[in-house]
């Protein structure tokens, strides 16, 4: 039962996040989506990642959004969509229906019995250690990217070196 409610909630929040005119509201709806996704993940049997999604997805990312909106400023852009409305709907529906039609029968089977698996920690830190290494790479690249994009420029750099 819970999963149906959570799912409905996810979709409502997501649609609201797209629809809402104010950026801040949009970010908050996204946080809601994230929180409900984390609930769904929990129900799907993934408690560890649900917690992380709750803290990172609903927490950290929302903070980042609010931060960015603060800097960039709330800008009211509620003009019409740049694409013809019909085209938007047709492509989205066509793609979704096609994928859904191909995918749904194959996915709609009862969950199988969990196979004997090592624990989450082992899977993450032993089996998929390369992925973790790459997370570090990603974080480093991302941070460098942000620094590169946002540093204050010449004047800032000089001030920094004087300190």
């Amino acid at each position: 039962m819970w999963h149906v409610l959570a799912s409905l909630g996810i979709l409502v929040c997501a649609i609201q996040a797209i629809r809402s005119q104010r950026l801040l509201m949009s970010a908050l709806w996204l946080a809601g989506t994230s929180a409900l996704v984390s609930l769904l993940l929990y129900l799907l049997g993934a408690p560890e990642v649900a917690v992380i999604e709750l803290s990172v997805g609903a927490g950290l990312v929302t903070v980042l959004f609010v931060f960015a909106i603060n800097i960039a400023g709330e800008e009211a852009i509620h003009l019409r969509s740049p694409l013809p409305r019909v085209l938007t709907w047709v492509t989205v529906i066509a793609a979704t229906v096609l994928v859904g039609w191909m995918v749904f029968p194959g996915m709609a089977m009862p969950a199988s019995v969990p196979v004997a698996e090592p624990s989450f920690t082992t899977t993450l830190w032993v089996d998929r250690r390369v992925d973790v290494l790459l997370q570090v790479v990603l974080i480093f690249s991302g941070v460098l990217g942000v620094l590169g994009l946002l540093s204050e420029g010449r004047a800032g750099a000089q001030k920094e070196s004087r300190q």
Partner: protein, 103 residues
């Protein structure tokens, strides 16, 4: 069709997929484009965990989902930084203003 959890999860994935792409197509504010991207990736993440649930390999799915969260957050961070810089430099977040490069 029963409303068991994998069925529902697949529907959620499709819904998020459609919403995300609708957002990318219809939204004009750069920051909201990032929101749409987030929604898209959340859909993929739910799909991953649901797949783990289906095949009974939840731990592998979980560790992948974790990596996805990290990667996705990084992309969001860079995208937001870019948006902020666009706002500083060009003065607006409207993607319609970002059409100097064409043809």
């Amino acid at each position: 069709m029963t409303l068991n959890i994998t069925n529902v999860a697949v529907l959620v994935v499709l819904g998020l997929f459609a919403t995300g792409f609708y957002g990318l197509l219809a939204v004009r504010n750069l920051i909201k484009v990032v929101v749409a991207l987030q929604i898209l990736v959340k859909g993929a993440m739910v799909a991953l965990v649901a797949a783990g649930n289906l095949t009974g390999q939840l731990q592998a799915a979980q560790s992948m989902a974790l990596t996805v969260i990290v990667a996705d957050t990084i992309v969001a961070v860079v995208a937001l930084a870019l948006a902020v810089q666009v706002r500083r430099c060009i003065g607006t977040l409207d993607i319609k203003a970002l059409t100097s490069l064409k043809r």
